[in-house]
Every structure is written in structure tokens, then in C-alpha cells.
């Protein structure tokens, strides 16, 4: 079988210093996206474990798989989770979720935790869409805009290019800078047309890295035009898979004249993390209600 250049690594992580058995509230968030799914488990509001996997054709199954992988070897089971919030495209299809919340609210909440209270503008570059979100000091959404009608500026678009150029997706960010000079962006932002354009450029003898640079800057430009509709404020951050692609991130920064905030957290878990944080609050609310009766 031909090598799948688009395929990124699936991963999970657990904090060995936290014993979930001592936690009063175990909240979880599952972000079932169009391309990848993430699960986050928090023990009393502290990040305990997370996992990221590719979303299959079956949303409920993907949600279950990613949660199981997140809990692997911890002794936790789905029954131990006090409150689970589902988010992302497949949020209504998470069988064990107590509530579904839109990914916009969850991303804002998650990014607020990941990047700190000063974050005002958030760009979530997902597998299938791109969202620009303004956030206030409490992590609440004040303005948002999404583009899910066009694949330009999405992770899936990058996967298509990795495949076309036979370059591993995890390396294409750096590779796009290995050019003698920055080429003009490809004129089409539509992934399908950009792909045909790139094929033409390769035929004209352009090196792969140069084609990649041209596509990355077209993508950055497209996304910046989306940000301009909401008020861009300093302290902006990028989440989602593309946040790991320096080729796109640095070009967006250059176009905006701002540098994106960095975080110790994994940029792809923002949605699931926000969901788990909401889960904690909702769980406590539920307990208070139950105690009052």
C-alpha cells in the first residue's frame, strides 16, 4: 500500500501525579470533530488525561474509542465520570454524554484556560472548518464567525497537500520555509482548484517546498480575511491541528503583525478541555440542586 503521508500520529497522555480516586469531581469532555476526536478528563478542574484520535465514520464509536484510550491503564471507567460534555460536529452522538455544548463555547472556555485570561481573539483551525472567536476576560464568547462551507484554510486541505506532494504532514510546516524566496500564494483557495494549480506548478518544475510555501501562504491569507470580520485584538491564539503547522502559523502572524500566544497544553484539546471545564461547573450545579431538594 502506498504510504499515507497525510496520516498524523494519534496520541494519549496521562498525569501520573494525579490520583483520580481522590478527586471529588471527575469531569470529562469529548470533542468529536470532523477529522479528529479528542477526549479530556479532569480531576477537580486539573487536567488528568487526554487523547486524540482520528474520527471514524461512526461518531458514537469514535467518541467511545477516544474516551477509552484516554482512560487506558488508569483504572477509570466511563461509569466513574461524574459529568461528561460532548462537543464538536458529533456532539449529539456521544452516547455517554450528559450534555452537548457547541464547540464555539467550548473552544473559548478551553483556550481561556490554556492561554490565560488575556486572550481576546481565538482562531480555531479544525479539520473541516475554521472559526474566529472573540473572548472576554471570563472566557465567554463575545463575537464569533465560522466558515464551514469551504475547505480552504482547513486541516483536511493540508492533508490533501501532504498527500499530493508526498511529504509527511507533521513536517510540512518546517519544509515550507526551505525555499530560496517566498513565492506568491497560489491564486485559488479552494482545495480542489489549489490542488490542480499545484499539480501545474510541479509540472513547471517548481520544487515541492516552494509549492507548499505558496499553498501555506494562500491558506494564511484566507484565514486572516476571516479574522478581519471580527475585531482582531492582541493576545490572539490558534488552536486545532493547524496550530502545529508552523508554515501556516508563522505566515498568519506575519500577515497580522502579531505573534500567537503559546501554551504548555496541546493545541488540539482546546474544545474537549473547555467541555470538561463546563462539565465540572454543570456537575456542581447539579449537586447543589439535588442537595436543595
Amino acid at each position: 500500500m502506498a504510504k499515507e503521508y497525510w496520516r498524523w500520529k494519534e496520541y494519549n497522555w496521562q498525569d501520573e501525579n494525579i490520583d483520580w480516586r481522590e478527586a471529588e469531581t471527575i469531569s470529562a469532555g469529548v470533542d468529536v470533530g470532523s477529522v479528529s476526536s479528542q477526549a479530556v478528563i479532569m480531576a477537580d478542574g486539573e487536567l488528568f488525561a487526554y487523547a486524540s484520535m482520528r474520527t471514524g465514520s461512526n461518531s458514537p464509536k469514535s467518541a467511545e474509542n477516544v474516551m477509552k484510550w484516554c482512560m487506558e491503564d488508569t483504572g477509570l471507567t466511563i461509569d466513574d465520570l461524574h459529568f461528561t460534555v460532548g462537543t464538536g460536529y458529533g456532539r449529539v452522538n456521544v452516547p455517554f454524554a450528559d450534555k452537548a455544548i457547541t464547540e464555539i463555547a467550548c473552544h473559548a472556555r478551553g483556550a481561556h484556560k490554556m492561554y490565560g485570561k488575556t486572550i481576546r481573539t481565538l482562531l480555531d483551525m479544525g479539520g473541516q472548518d475554521c472559526k474566529a472567536i472573540s473572548v472576554d476576560e471570563k472566557g465567554k464568547v463575545t463575537n464569533f464567525l465560522m466558515n464551514d462551507k469551504c475547505a480552504a484554510g482547513t486541516g483536511r486541505g493540508m492533508e490533501v497537500f501532504a498527500d499530493l506532494l508526498s511529504l509527511p504532514i507533521e513536517e510540512i510546516g518546517e519544509l515550507s520555509f526551505q525555499v530560496e524566496e517566498e513565492p506568491d500564494p497560489v491564486s485559488s483557495t479552494c482545495v480542489i482548484f489549489a490542488k490542480s494549480e499545484a499539480t501545474g506548478l510541479l509540472r513547471d518544475g517548481w520544487p515541492k517546498n516552494k509549492v507548499l510555501a505558496a499553498y501555506s501562504s494562500a491558506m494564511a491569507h484566507r484565514v486572516v480575511s476571516l479574522l478581519q470580520r471580527i475585531d482582531i485584538q492582541e493576545d490572539f491564539a490558534i488552536t486545532g491541528g493547524i496550530a502545529k503547522n508552523s508554515g501556516v502559523v508563522k505566515r498568519i502572524e506575519k500577515e497580522l503583525g502579531l505573534s500567537a500566544l503559546t501554551t504548555k497544553y496541546d493545541s488540539q484539546i482546546a474544545g474537549a478541555l473547555g467541555a470538561a471545564l463546563f462539565g465540572k461547573v454543570l456537575c456542581e450545579k447539579k449537586r447543589k440542586k439535588a442537595a436543595a431538594v
Binding site: 464555539i104 463555547a105 473559548a108 463575537n143 462551507k149 469551504c150
Partner: protein
């Protein structure tokens, strides 16, 4: 909060925005719109909010350019949705 519903594609930008701070969830826009673009629902962007708000239905979010054609053709300045909202919560980008 400003919620922008819609998209940008090769034909242009088509967004309807609802200012949730002004919207009371009265539902006047729902009855005013001949294309059933609006609905009153829970605030999707603030799960802790109790008040309901007007939103563009999921069915229409990706085809606003076409859903709004009739009103736009009549008179862009007197859109029934914008006119019906006494709080000035609704705006169109095109």
C-alpha cells in the same frame, strides 16, 4: 455577544448577525421572515445563560444567499427581519 451566522464563498460574504445583548428572544423575527430563517432557541454560545435568543436555523446557515433572495430583490433597506426587530439586534452583511 455578536453571533454571526453564514459563510463566505466564491460569491461573497453572507452573514446575518444577532446581537444577543439586544435580543430578548421575543420571536418577532421568526414570524416576520418569509423564508423561515430564524428560530428562538437556547443560547448556543453561552451554556450558562438561561435566556433564549433568536438564531438562524441550521438548515439555512449555509444557504443564506438564496434564502434571503426574495426580500433582497424587493428592497434591501426594508428587510422584514431587521424591520421587525424593535431592539435593533439583527444585521445583514450584504
Amino acid at each position: 455577544m455578536i453571533a454571526n451566522y453564514g459563510y463566505k464563498d466564491g460569491a461573497g460574504e453572507f452573514y446575518i448577525s444577532v446581537d444577543t445583548d439586544k435580543c430578548t428572544g421575543c420571536g418577532d423575527c421568526v414570524t416576520a421572515c418569509p423564508s423561515s430563517v430564524f428560530e428562538v432557541r437556547e443560547n448556543e454560545f453561552d451554556p450558562m445563560a438561561d435566556e433564549e435568543m433568536a438564531a438562524v436555523t441550521e438548515l439555512q446557515r449555509k444557504k443564506l444567499q438564496f434564502a434571503c433572495t426574495t426580500c433582497k430583490a424587493n428592497n434591501n433597506k426594508l428587510l422584514p427581519c431587521i424591520n421587525s426587530c424593535e431592539f435593533g439586534a439583527i444585521a445583514h452583511s450584504w
